[in-house]
Symmetry: C2
Subunit: 237 residues, 2 copies
DNA sequence: GTCTATAAGATGATAGAC
DNA sequence: GTCTATCATCTTATAGAC
């Protein structure tokens, strides 16, 4: 599994050795630290924090372990850096998407509309963001299921957006009790988490009838399902 | 390599160190291998397969690491044994619960009824099964989110019950397309997974308004939410 | 920034005594 | 069944050369 690859050793670092100054801000890993983050993101998303050693990351990235410590201090520092990197992008876009929808809908907010706006950036990054974003989503999925640090981590990075989501859903469902709104969100959150994982379980269960990789359909169905769920939970006395 | 069959029940009367006969209370582990399974279940559910060492389990159980190898062969063998132990109990009860409901309801199956019957054993074990069952549920929750072995593991242990669930939902929702039934189940499965985890995230997010530990309410809300979702997804042309 | 070398300890697993 | 002793390997992390 982690055999020393004689090709990646010399070849990998060599290609970026003579670089000077800031790397160009374009696609692909824009520097060694970004490359390390990409590799770590991939491996962490598959095997978890404890299932990946810094040697695994270093070997796969074609650098030495000492370099990871130079950039990120400890293994946990590397993990946190991976988690943080895309969270900021994602949160900004989801807030913007929700705000844009609220502005457009005016007084005619619907649960479907709010939820779709919330999910929209996930669809787009999942479809066009390349493998890095898919790995990141799988990582979030596992974080949300983790009983030790999951709750705290998810809260730290994503609560702002969630609170805005619930705020808009409250407007879309006049008279709803807060308690029901939260319980309904809990169900939506679970569905979202499972979708982000793309574990292929649905494909197998349905004998190929459904493909978890069909993100556009997955999110459209989720919005429809969850909107009905919110209405059912929130429309009672 | 003479490995005892873990299924064969308590091997003999003298199970613990200086002890003779059965442990006084029928509550606790009924033998050393069961004790090891309980400890492993607890630790694996919190830190994952790679986050727990054989030594961690041995120390916590008060036995030597060699004994774990004697009973379970490898670390992975121990993990599998943990996973399998309660799966069989759970599956039998969920199938029985679904069958009982189908018999009682006759031609008047409803999505709420089917889903509630499916969830019922989870409520009961979660409330009355002690910490072991809670740990087990947390373990399932993480398995379902795992992109590497999660899909395969969940399918191996739980597909029979899921297929029966979908079969009954198909009867409760005449005219539904299979594809929509599977997508709807996907959303229910996600909500269930998050609930099983009991990560405390909802408690924090709602400022204590909702308690994830209130299983009866959690599952009642889930059944209502999901039933509406199934109707919304399956009631289209 | 990147590597070499290495410390200091943890890990999964086995052989064999009792 | 249970423990003692041990091994070969892998782990995170640091110091220092270039």
């Amino acid at each position: 599994m982690t055999k020393p690859d004689p090709e990646a050793g010399p070849a990998g670092p060599e290609t970026r050795k003579g670089r000077r100054g800031r790397p160009p801000k374009s696609e692909g890993p824009s520097g060694t630290s970004e490359l390390i983050l990409d590799v770590a993101e991939d491996l962490f998303s598959k095997h978890g924090l404890h299932g990946v050693s810094i040697r695994d990351v270093a070997n796969e990235a074609g650098v030495d372990t000492a370099l990871l410590h130079y950039y990120f201090g400890t293994k946990l520092g590397l993990f946190d850096a991976v988690f943080k990197r895309r969270a900021e992008i994602l949160n900004a876009e989801r807030l913007a998407s929700l705000d844009a929808y609220a502005l457009k809908a005016g007084d005619a907010l619907t649960p479907e509309g709010v939820i779709s706006a919330f999910l929209q950036p996930l669809v787009e990054w999942g479809e066009k963001g390349g493998p890095g974003w898919k790995h990141y989503f799988a990582l979030i999925s596992q974080a949300n299921a983790n009983p030790v640090w999951g709750g705290e981590t998810m809260a730290r990075y994503f609560d702002d957006v969630i609170r805005r989501l619930i705020e808009l859903l409250r407007l879309a469902l006049p008279g709803a009790r807060d308690e029901d709104l939260y319980w309904a969100y809990h169900n939506l959150s679970g569905a979202l988490t499972l979708t982000l994982g793309e574990t292929g379980r649905l494909d197998r269960l349905s004998n190929g009838l459904c493909r978890s990789g069909d993100l556009r359909l997955a999110y459209a169905n989720m919005a429809r399902f969850a909107a009905a769920g919110f209405r059912a939970l929130c429309a009672r006395a």
